[in-house]
Symmetry: C2
DNA sequence: ATTTATCATCGTAATATTGCAATATATAAA
DNA sequence: TTTATATATTGCAATATTACGATGATAAAT
């Protein structure tokens, strides 16, 4: 089907899955790494850096924005993307909580 | 296309994406949580617990096994799944490393 | 030996994701 | 105003994912 039965899972489970889904692509990982590596708020040299077409990058940025992992500030005709540190830290906390809580006690 | 251009990304980026992809589904999150909650190595009560058909669960378990996040021990006609703590901890370390390394220094 | 129970695999339908060309939009420069 | 530059959106093709019924394989129970 390709459709996930979100209704049968709780909010936390769906939230976790959504976060993981946004991160589940090497292009988006590379974009995040590239954005963070820059001293200043570097914009879409991302297209040059990553080997993907401009619309593709634009779409990936949109997905990263969908969970507020990055923010884009308009600067003239350019857009300056940077990581949203608050959300970044928040998500790291959520994931660690999941990993610490979900641990086997068998085998 | 639906096909990710893995060739243009490095091993670490692809590995990260693969890990995230395996976790990017609420059913698999729920399965992990359920397995970890049990005192003993509970097997496919998972099917009863989660509201999905047995082949679906089996497929999800296969994906979790694909990165060694869980291991399945055969016990008669049952299979006993549990979390692979070594790998679990390893992945948590990898993710934290990513989150700590990839942080913005702008905006 | 047959039946039953547990789990895996196969095949398939429905939907999602990835990527890009074409196009739209918006701002800056000329 | 026209042109160039930067980014977003649309539409589409190719592939991936999710889910399940049918079927297979295996082991315990009868």
């Amino acid at each position: 089907m390709g459709i996930t039965k979100t209704q049968i899972f709780n909010v936390d489970q769906n939230q976790m899955a959504t976060i993981f889904k946004v991160l589940a692509n090497p292009a988006r990982i590379a974009i995040l790494e590239y954005i963070s590596k820059q001293d200043a708020c570097i914009c879409n040299d991302i297209v040059d850096e990553i080997g993907l077409a401009q619309p593709t990058i634009s779409q990936h940025l949109k997905e990263l924005k969908s969970i507020n992992l990055i923010k884009g500030e308009i600067d003239g005709k350019k857009v300056c993307y940077c990581i949203n540190l608050d959300k970044w830290t928040d998500i790291q906390r959520i994931l660690n909580n999941f990993f610490n809580t979900t641990k086997s006690n068998c085998c």
